[in-house]
Each structure stands twice: as C-alpha cells, then as structure tokens.
Symmetry: D2
Subunit: 469 residues, 4 copies
C-alpha cells in the first residue's frame, strides 16, 4: 500500500537536520530523548493520561471495576503508526487514539476511555508529563555532568595565568580557571531555573472550555477529581484553565532552556576564539583519522564549538513563536497547534549541545606556552591600572589622565611603560609610598590577578553544594 | 552654540514613538517611569552607586572623612546634559560622569570617586538598582491595580452567562466572569514572576575583569567590600562576574515582562473580538467628542485594545536581542552596549499598556442582550456534549459517533437537535436513566456551565490572597 | 550492528513534526519536495556539482578523458547512508562524499574528483542549485495553482455583496470577490518576488578563501573556469565570494518565502474569522467521517486555516537566524553550518501550506444568507459615510461632525438613521441637491460598493496576464 | 498648563536611546533623517498628501478654484504640537490634522480638505512618500559614500598580503584589499536592493475599505483620480488596497535595510577581531583626549565597530514585527498601528551606522608589520594545499591523505613542513614534474594569493560602474 511505503521512508528522506543528523545519529542523544520527545513517546504519554482518568473513574464508581486494567493492557499494544492511520481516516488525533485503545478493549469497558474529558485535557497533561520527566530524567542529569566537568577543569586550572580580555583587547590578568568559573556559575543558575520551571508545569482535566462542564455531569466534585487524576501523574492542576492550560508555565521552561543554550553558546564562542591561530590558548583534540578541510589538510577547525553557537542561532529566535502562542482567542483557538509541535526540538537542541560540549571539553588541551606568550605581550602595559589606582590612593591629583599620558609616551618613545614611569620625576615621591606588596605587583604584573584563584574555588564550591554534585 | 540648539530639540523632532507619543504624552506613565527609565534617571542612579562606593571607602579608612558627603553634595548638581557634554569631549560616558562629579568637589576628596572600580561596576549596578526599583515602585503597583480591577469585574460578572468559544466556534457555556478569571490567574502568575526576577537582580563591584584586581590593591577583603557597597543599595552581589554581571538575571526579568505583556495582549485580543459588530458582547465607552473614523462617523473602533496587541507585536521579538547579548567574548565585548539601552522601552511598554487597559476596562460595558442572543444561536446544539457523555455513561456503546450523526440529521432536516434526540427510538431507554438534574441540563443548556461560577470565585479568592490585594 | 539499527528508525521516532507529520504524511508534499529538500536530495545535488567540475577539468585538458563519465557512473550508486558512514569515520561531510565517489571509480580518474575546489564550492553551489530548482519545479508551480484558484473564486464571487470590516467593525460594503482579490494581488506579487530571488541565487568555484588560490595553480583563467562550471548547472557565479557565497542572495529568497507565507496566513486568518459562529459567511466542507472535537460532536473547526496561521507563527521568527548568519568572521566561520540546515523546512512550510489551502479553498462554501443578514445589521448606519461626503460636497460646513451627531441621536432614540436624517430640517435643502444616483445609494446602501466589482475583475485580469496563468 | 510643561521635556527625559543618544546627538544623522523620520516630518508629509488631493479635486471641478492654494498656505503654519493637542481632544490623529488645517482656511474651501478620502489614504501614502524620499535623498547617498570609501581602501590595499582565515584558523593567503572587496560587493548589492524596494512603494486613495466607495460618489473614474493624485507625489498606486496598502512593499524595504545593516555588522565584526591584541592588523585612530577605559588607561577599544554590531543585534529581530503585521483582519485591523510607528528607527539605525563606519574607516590604519608577522606564523604550513593539489594533478594517488600525514609528521618532529616534504622519497618524482611557477609558490607561499589582486580590481570596477560612483 502506498500509505505504508510512505511510512517506511528512510532517515535521509527527512528534511529536518535534527532528525537525520543531530538527534538520530547520536546514540546518547537518541536514547535519552526519544522516550519523551519523539512522536511515539508523545503517544505513550497520552495513553498514560487516558489510563489515569479511567483509574480515577473506577475509584469514583463510574467506570466498571477492571476497566483501567483493561485500558492499560490495550494501550500497551498501541503504536503511533496505528493511531496515525486512524487519524488519516477521521481527521482527529486524540479521538484516533481513543478509538485505537477501545478497539483492543472489552466492549463493556471501552466506553469509559476518555469519558468526560476533552482532547486537550489529554494533550496538555501529556505534554507537561513528558517535558517534566524529560527535564528530570534526561536534561538536568546531562547538564549536571557538564557542570561537574566545568568545575573539574576550573579547579584544575585555577592558578593558570591568563590575560583577561575586554573588547578583544588585553585587560587585566586572571586565571584560566577563573574564566571558566564564569560558566560554572551561569550554567549552575540555569540548571536551577530549568528545574524550577519544569516543576511548575501543570496538568488539566477541566474539559472543553475549562469549566468542568462535562465532568460535572458525572461527578460531585470535578475539581477534586482533576486533582486526583493529576496526582497519579505527579502533576499539579492549573490554577485556571480554558480548553488548554495557561501557556506561561511551558513558556517559562522554554525560556529557561534557550537561555541555558545561550550560556553554552557563549562558552563555545570563547573556546572558539581561544583556538584562533594567533591566540591558540586551547586546542580541541583531533582524532587521527579526522579531516579538517577538504582542501587544506593542515586545518584544525573548532567545529564542535561552532556547532553549538550555530544551534543557538537557529533555536533562540523561536521563543517568539511561543510568545505569539500566548494569544489564543477566547477559550482557545488552534493556531498554537502546529507551532507547539516544534517544542521538542528546542529541548533536544540543549541536550545535544551539552553532550557535544562535554565530549570536546573532556579532551580540551590548555596550551601553557601560548597563555604565557600572550600574557607577555601586555605584561608591561597592564601596569597602567594598578599604577593609576595606587597613585590616586596616595594622593596624586589626576592619576588616570597622567597614566594615560605615560602610556602614550611609552608607545611613541619605544621605551617600556615601566621605564617611562620610573623615569618620571613627578611620580617619584608617590612611588616611594607604595608598600612592598604593591611594588611587587607593579614590578611583576603576573601577580596582579586579584582574587582570581580564591574566587574560582569559592564559585566552584558554592555550585557543588547548591546542586549537590 | 549649535550643540545646544541640537539639545533643545522638541518632542516632535524625535523618531521613536515611545518618546513622542506613548510615554511622554501620558502624565501617569511619564511620572512613574521617568525617574527610573529616562537617561536622566540612569545618570541619577549611577551617581548613587558612585557615592555608595565612596561611603564604603570611607568606612574602610581609604577615603578621607567627609569625602562621601562631598560627593553626594556634588552629585546633586550634576545634570545629564553636563555629563553628555563631557562625554562628547572624552568619548567615555562613565569617566565623563566621574569628571563632572569631581569638578564640583574639594580637590582632596575628588580622587576617591571611582577609586578601584570600573565603569561597569557602576553601570551594571545602577541598572539593577533602577530596574529593581522600577519594578517595586512603579510596575508591580500598576499591575496590581489592573489585577484588582480584573478581579472586581470577574466577580461582578461571575454569573453572567456567555457561550464559550474554541476555534471561533461556539463550544460549551460558561460565564463572563469565568472567562475573565483566566486573566486574573495568568496576570497574577506574571506579577509573581516579575517580582521574583527583579529581586534576583544583582550588582557587582569586582573590577575590569571581575577578579577584583584593582580593589585587591587597596583592600584586604574586596569580596566583602563589594557585598557592603551593594548592601547600601539593597542589592546582592553576583555569584560571579566578569567586567559585567551575569546577563541571565536581567534576561529573566525581560522575559517575565514580555510574557506579562503577552497576557495583556491576549486579554486585549479577546475584548477586541467580543466587540466585533456581529458579537458585540462588550463595548468600550466612547467619549462624546471622540471620532472613530475620519470618514465613517458611526464607527466605534476598539483602538485601545488594538494598541495593546500592536505594542506586544512590536516588543516581543526584542527578547532575541537579549539572548544574543548573552554572548560576550571573554571577559566582555561591548556589542551589548547599544542594545541594552533599549531595555527601558520594553519595561515602559508593559507599564503603559497596563495603564491603558485599566482605563478602558474600568469603563467596559458588558452587553447582556448580545450575550443572550449569541448563546441562543447554539442553545440547541450544545446539548450534543452532555448527551454524548451521559449516553456513554449509561452504557450506549458508541455514543460520540451516534450523537455526531444526530447533529448531521438535525442540520439536514431542519428539526431541532433536541427533537431529533427525543425522536430517536434507540436512545429512549438510555434517556430514561438520566437523573432529574441531568435531564434539566439537557432541556435547559443554560444550566450547563459546570463549575464556572464557583471556579471564578475560587480563582479570584486565591489570587487576592496570594498577592495580598 | 547498532549503527544500522539506529539508521532504521521509524518515522514516529522522529522529533520534528515536519518529518513525521506535515511533510512525509502528505504524498503531494513529499514527492514534490523530497528531491530538493531531503538530505538524500542534497547529496544528489552535491554529486552533480562535483561531476560538473570534473567535466570542465576534462575540457581544460587537466582531467583524463572519460573521468567525468566515470564519476557520473560512480555517483549514480552513491547513497546518503554510505556517505554518512564515511563521515562518521573521518568527520568531514564533503570529503566523505568525495571518498565514496572515488571508491567506485577507476583509480586513474579518481584523483580528479574535487581537484582544485573546496568543500563549500560544492555545498554553496549545490544549495543554490537545489533551491533554484525547487522554486521553479515545485514551489512556484504550486503557488500558481493556488493563485489560479483564488482568481477563479474571486471572479465567481465578484458581485456577492459583503460588508467590509475594519477594526472588526462593519465599515463600508464591498463584494466577497473584491475581498479575495486582495490575496490575488498580494500572492501574485510574492510569486514574482520568489521567482526573482531564486533566479539571483549564485554558485561559486573560488576555493577555500574565495581567491581562487588552488585553481589558479592549475588553470590560466580560474574565473572563467568557474563561470563555465556554473553554466553547466544554469547558475551564475557570485560577484565576489569568500569560502562561501554572499549570504544575501539566499537570504532574499528566505524573506520572499516567509513573506509569502505571511500572505497565506492572513488569508487563512480571514477565512477563520469568517467561519466564526456569529459570522458564518464561509464554511469548510467537512468529510462525513471527520470528527470536529473529541467531546463536542457538533463542532466544525477551521483546523486547516488554523494550521496555516500556526505554521506562520512557527516559521516567521526564523528569519532572524539568517540575519545572524550574515555575520561570518573573516573568510568564514562555521557558525552558520547547523543553522543553514534548517532552511529546507522553511521552504517546505510554504509548499505544504499552499497545498493545504488549495484543498480547503476548492471546497469552500460561501454562505449567501449569512452574508446578507450580516450586511443588514449595518445597512442603516453605513449611510453615514456617503451622507457626510455628499453633504460636504454640497457645501454643508461641518458635515462629519453633524453626521456623527445624527448617528448618536439615532442610537439613543431607536429611530433608524435614515429617518433621523430625513427628519432633520437643517439638512433638507442639502438633500435636495443630491442626484438620483446619489439618492439611490442613500436609500439602498447595498449599491454603495464603489468599484468593488470592476476592481475585482481588473486585479484578476492583471495578475492572470502578469503570471501568464 | 501641565500639558505644555509635559511637551517641553528635555532630551534626557526620553527613554529611547535613539532619541537622546544616537540620532539627536549626531548633527549629520539628525539633519538628514529628521525631515523624513521625525513625527514633525511625518505630519509635514501628511499635509502634502492632503493638499495633493485638494489639487486634484480642483482639477476635477469638485473643489472650488483656489482651495488647494488656500490649503497649502494653511498647512504651512501647522505644527505637530498643534495637531497633537487637537488629537488629545478628539482621539483621532488624521481628523485632528484635518481640523487644524481647516481652521486656518477660508470656510468655503475648508470642506474640500479630506473630501472623499479616508485616514489611511493619507497615512499610507505619506509613509510611502517620506520613506521613498528618505531612501533617495538621505540613505542611499550616505551608503554610496560608504561604498566609495570601501572601494578606495580596497584598491589602495589590493596588494597588501594578509593571511585568510576560516574558522578563526589561518587558511590560504589573500590581500587585505580582497578581504574588503567582499564588503564592496555585498554592500553594493544591498544598495541596489534598497533602491529597488523604495521605488516599489505605493500610495493609495481608495477609501475606507479600498473599494473607492466614497470617491465613486463624486467622481466618474476614481481609479484614475487616485493615479493622478499619486502622480503629483511621484508615487504609483497599489495594484489592490484595502483600508491600507499591501504591506509587502514596505516589508521588502525593511528587509533590504536590515540585511544591509547585517553587511555593515559583519564588516564591523571583522574589523573588531582584526583589532584583537594578538592580531592587531588594523587600528582605529584614537583622539588624543579619548578615554578607552575608566580604569585601564592604556586600553584602545573598538567601540565604533562594537556599536554597529550591537545596533544590528538590537534591530534585526524587529523584522518579525512586520511579518506579524502582514496579518490584518478583513479590510484591516489596527493592530499594526503602534508597531508601524517604530519603522523610522530601523531606517535611522542603518543611516547612523553607515555614518559611524565611514568616520572610523576613513581613519583606519592598516598595520603592515602585524600582517606580515601573522602571515609568517603559517607561512610554512599553508604549503599543504598547493602541494596536495599539484600532487593530485601529477598523479599521486591519495594526495590529500598523504599531505595530511606530512603535516602531522612535521608537527611532531619539529621540522618544517617544507623540509618534511623535501625529505620524503616517495614524493620526489612528483615534485620534479612541478613547473617553475608552481615550485616558486611552494617555496614562497606569499605568492600563493591566487586571483586576490585582480579580483579586487574587478569587483571594485564592477560596482563603481553599476552604481555610477
């Protein structure tokens, strides 16, 4: 049958790169994400919600004893393919699932499946269920592994001198571990935000317009009934719902996920730039068979870091779709239906990017000689800041301007800045006030790393405790 | 001087509609927002941070006694105009502010202003300070007023029958108050999220690359110093910072604000559609002098609701800018500088939209006859759902399909659906099982409002308590 | 092998709704799009570019006679699956394709495949090739069918009276055909824009940094060589290229496609609202087996129109990704690689939405009684505009204000507006000046449709000629 | 009056950074943009359209002789401030303008102002008029100056050796002029696109729903009348219009402008990276009084290039607003009103960014020693590509893999790549086949710049002719 042939399409007949490239090619990504994010996974979660309803109807004495077991048994044989065939016939996806479940049930029990609920009771609840589970079973565990790895590297490199950079210009020195601890902190914060947003996801069993019209025909307290059904699924009910649950809960999760991807993208971007030929402070390990360029055999391109940034650019604008989906006319229009089907891709993009970053970071090589030689380029000039501050402190009236002038003099004369400073008569009486420690920093700017090392340790310690790593 | 002339531009020489139209024209908006969101307001907050630093330097024994008072006095004379003139000269905005402050100070104290801090210590901290204050002093109070008004209307109309609508089609009945309670709940949730996000904003006094390089020259414990300066401003320090604070805290606030605007836009959109000529369930009050159309004198256009939706379309895509600004190379590049200057507009758009909605909702007229006549269009057909559910419940095997067939028969025959149902012999023995209450609903579908009224009350009560309204 | 198992994933193991739902389920969409938009299709086009290069190398006397035929034969056996396996090994997709092609070739010819070109010579050129063909072979023919259908309906309904609506309020009358001719015109314009943008797509055979470094080793005139290779593929060379072609050409096509989807979305939105229960001017035909709601058997939801709008909300923000991809550092960074793989989905979304709209519009029923009764609601009041204009014309000083007052009087008194007008003594001497035609319109506002009918005809005629339909 | 006080707000009471910082502070930007993009400018253009209508009504014999002159005279006294005051009273902006114009006219003429037209006839036409003029009088002349400057620099530096970079890694050599000619070409293309889009802007005089209802009361051929009015303004009529003109024409211009900003942003980003301390191939000239950092006196930050990229991030997502505004219900809803008022900012951002780039590029210093020393880092290794290609050409079977191996050997052994090559016995017989020219390149990779110099010249020449510079 042509239908069947169509369904047996190969993976390379797909048009979405997630499916044929980033998700299905990667065993680690596929196995963790599929149960929650695939269409098969969605249908699995929908049956689970249908069953929870029947169970509670049984408790209420409405469904016949044994109906829930019957439904559960029937559901275990349902496949997405079968549901889609039924949908092709009747043009309604939830009713299709219900029909397919019922077919496999004893006729006397069948009618209790979906009794008193509406399609979106099932869909909204199943989505919350699968996304919440995805976060706790797959996404957060993955991000915690990445966080742990970042902490390990940050602590390992907490004393490795690196020149700090602002505007792409050498600024003040710090340590490589300190630079990484930025990401420890930002990723830590995002993990907490994701966790919180997922735990706020709600279900609903409130019927076609949210007023419990249907269920109140059968039940004394349909609001309590909703609560009990959802408790079976470890979900809370929405404070209010229409045909659908309030969109803001899921929207907050999408925001948390995209902003976490933004943190990974920034990390990736930094690593990418640190691999520039002229900077070369870090290196991705290359496999011996790996080809860098189809035409330049010597190239070593930071393709993994580039991929993470590219994914961020592809995914981040999509948040706008979900702001737009906040607007649903009256008790709901369906213009959020197709669009909401793209949400799993957003979640998978963060998961896949984290897996990718872990792999490449675990083999990252930090190049000490490059760090040193880059620092040395500015070793002389970075004395400008501590000098200006100490001069100010010791009472020199317009120290910032004075020091700026001295940097210009040094640049023009070719003498080192330190020599220019020492040669300046006006400054002499101020320099004499400097303490030994202060003078040591001026002479050896590699000591001018402030609290970099201590702060690395405290940031890593804070997040280890906070996340119980 | 041409400079001056340029600065004396009139409001209609501006190109941004916020400035010349939505913000400055509206006294209520202007007076509440300007202290925090205008450029003058920003400079005011920057001076406040500079002063807090000097105060703490005084406590540490670094600044001379009286320096902070001197700075405070000097700052009170500083105008944005003066700062901009200095910036035109030296091309650096924070240094310009520092110069202007120092000019007005005793020379011996002047050098302690900005000692040991970097521009973005001041800017990031001042931004957090003004946005946090804006939220607590202006935005949340405004949104709470709107929430209160929504609760009042929802309770007033909690028993007003309205036909529920999904896909633009009549669905099941509910009440107008219940429909509004959706927005009570969603706006309530957003107020809490905004509040939380604002309280998470952080400051930083950690220097040019975040490692406290400069401050550690002068202070034993620069991390503690940072904490103390910020405590003066009721802010927490960032867990980690580079030249700038972690961007995610402010990003979360932007998200919370835009998603709140989305809730207002949905409400506005609903009200807009309820004003359609054919629906006419609500009306905006028109002023006697108001003109609806320059050419159709009878028009009554829902321009306020349209404006709120339009503002949402203008503002919501801007979140993407701030995702992009998460990426800042190494210890910071400046490519987030111009873009971050547009943030106040986002905040003002929510404020202005709330003020606008309050005004129009407070005069909203609910048209009872239209509600009734719209309901009556579907009075007969909405029996389909309760009938199908009760038939299922009482054991009719394929009730959904049966009822669907009956709706088609009724449509074709021109007989009412109720007559078609009553005339169906097969159904007779099932209908006989219906309880009186169930039969009453079938006969009088206006009773088929489920928990609409009770739920309205409970939602309003929940949010009144939650927000202490 | 686990590898293989992974590759044999079923369609419902996918996470992207395009793949499992909108594209692969629809035979018409799949068959037209797959050759160009699937990964298999991409690899097919890449081999075609590789072959064109070998052919031209043969012409230049560099490749051995017969090499191109050999390459062509070898390429015919290449599958995406094989290429991906090789890529898994060597981590470079184009080199993988080259390896796989060469394996099947005579050793003496093999080395001429990819000689002197770089990966992105192949990728950029293949993308331009497949997208250009997709537009001319699939997308534009499909859109032309939709345009033709719109013209047919517009002409059929060119005299069908409909009340015009602005702000959701009844405005002046027009015809249903005139309303549709808006979309004839806007879609016509987009078809031309898409066509133009596709014809501007360029290829490039200029090497790793665009300076023809490699090809200039072998060839006297590498610029001419590039032109000849591309002429074989009916493509123009880029005016300038780096490793990649200028991104703006493809960006313009993406813009044209998304803006065309916007036109379809507006059409869909109008049809959706015209199906509102209270308006009911059009109806989608429902299949006899179709289920409208899982719980409300009588519902007839405009799901196809909703789907088109939803798709637009899902796709339109993605343009931002491609603005961001305009920025590629120096001669190219790879941060546009993953993101550019999502482009086919954008193109498929327009194709699928057009197919969907055609199907539903071809069965659209226009409900004459509803059109009439809706018009009648405002029949009286719409006289306000012609009256005000004619009064002005005949010299009444402040006609707009006068008429506005009369509408208020009519509203309050309950008398018809026409009666209020006729009863106004002040107006009498002006009304007497009205011509018969003018009076006829005032008496019978259904004639007040201006040029609606003529304009419908001229718009349809214009676009039929313009597009040679 | 409090009203007045509010209107006399200073520039620093504004919240939009465009108004107080980027637009009004910059004389060049302000003077060129204000006549078209300010609110005062908009009102000026609206009066011009109103006058054109009266003129044509006079020609048609409908308006009294002299009415148009009277209107023109009256209009010359109208100020935005006055119009806004009237709008505050009657809540309708176009009617306010009409009232203010009429007040200043002879009573017998006054009624012909706005006779037979609707607000959006005026607004849409005035917007097209001012944007078209802005493009031709301000934007394109400015962009042409930038293009000219880029051509000058590209030609000046067409032989300046620079290492090409892909993925941030050294690739093949080219010239600095060639690198710049990328932007000559891309900006050239965008100028043409902007020009074309602006010339496609249309006006409309077709009334409240686009069907010429009102004007057909007065005129025999209202379509011809529309054409004549618009011809006075050098505009074409829309092929079809509703209350508003088809949105796609203006949308195309917005796209062209944003994508041009994307080109500038990429250029700025490249220049930014070339200024990195480790690369240092270009330098922005610093003013002697300029301060780079408030705390690091030696810093030279590329703030102008950063600003351009930041502006692009702020502006580019806004396109989504205008896709959304494609959807306007029926003959128009007003949800595009507030949003469309933000369009001038988009145009001004490109103008201001171009002015900024011109200033900084005109003083850009190219640092020859840095270019040389950066090239030298990779001088040895870049031989890999020409070697691999020539080996392939001369029949070496798997040259790419062989050369890749040699690069690894060279890396490990510490010997130069050239030595490793020469020392390889297997290669000897192939190397002997190399021509002198080929060998020269292998020995001196600085000659391996392909067509860089020639291509620079041809690209610059092409665009000079194309744009008649």
């Amino acid at each position: 049958m042509s239908r069947n042939k169509k369904r047996n399409l190969g993976i390379f007949d797909m048009i979405n790169p997630f499916d044929f490239r980033y998700y299905s090619r990667n065993k680690e990504v596929l196995e963790k994400c599929a149960p929650f994010l695939s269409e098969e996974g969605m249908i699995r979660h929908m049956t689970e919600v249908e069953i929870a309803v029947v169970k509670e109807l049984e408790v209420e004495g409405i469904a016949l004893k044994g109906s829930a077991n019957d439904a559960e048994r029937a559901a275990s044989h349902v496949t997405a393919s079968e549901v889609y065939e039924e949908e092709d016939r009747i043009k309604h996806n939830v009713r299709a699932l219900v029909n397919v479940m019922r077919r496999n049930m004893n006729e006397k029990n069948a009618r209790f499946v979906h009794l008193g609920v509406t399609s979106h009771d099932i869909i909204c609840t199943a989505d919350s269920l699968r996304y919440k589970r995805f976060v706790s079973h797959a996404l957060v565990p993955e991000l915690r592994k990445l966080e742990k790895l970042l902490i390990d590297i940050a602590l390992r490199e907490k004393s490795t001198l690196q020149i700090g950079r602002t505007h792409g210009q050498h600024a003040e020195p710090l340590t490589f571990g300190f630079a990484l601890s930025e990401y420890v902190s930002r990723l830590g914060g995002r993990i907490m935000r994701i966790d919180e947003a997922a735990s706020n996801l709600v279900g609903k069993i409130s019927g076609a317009v949210g007023a419990y019209n249907a269920s109140s025909l059968l039940l004394k307290d349909p609001v309590l009934f909703e609560k009990r059904v959802l408790r079976r699924l470890s979900l809370k009910p929405a404070t209010h719902s229409t045909q659908i649950a309030e969109p803001e809960h899921l929207l907050d999760l999408i925001h948390a996920v995209i902003s976490a991807l933004g943190v990974l993208a920034n990390l990736a971007d930094d690593m990418r730039h640190l691999q520039r030929t002229e900077i070369a402070e870090v290196k991705e390990e290359f496999l011996s068979e790996q080809v860098g360029s189809s035409t330049m055999p010597h190239k070593r391109n930071p393709i993994n870091f580039e991929n993470v940034k590219s994914m961020f650019k592809a995914i981040s604008p999509r948040i706008v779709t979900y702001y737009l989906d906040q607007i649903s006319e009256h008790q709901r229009d369906l213009t959020n239906s197709a669009s909401s089907r793209f949400i799993p891709e957003i979640f998978a993009s963060l998961f896949a990017s984290s897996v990718r970053l872990r792999r490449v970071l675990s083999r990252l090589r930090v190049d000490a000689p490059s760090l040193k030689s880059n620092f040395n380029r500015s070793r002389d000039m970075i004395r400008a800041e501590p000098l200006y501050i100490l001069l100010s402190y010791y009472g020199y009236p317009n120290a910032h301007e004075k020091v700026r002038q001295l940097t210009l003099i040094s640049e023009k004369s070719g003498r080192s800045f330190l020599e220019a400073v020492k040669g300046d008569k006006e400054l002499r009486r101020y320099l004499m006030k400097f303490t030994d420690d202060q003078m040591k920093i001026l002479e050896n700017p590699e000591y001018y790393t402030g609290m970099a090392e201590k702060k690395t340790a405290s940031v890593c310690s804070f997040w280890s405790h906070q996340l119980k790593l």
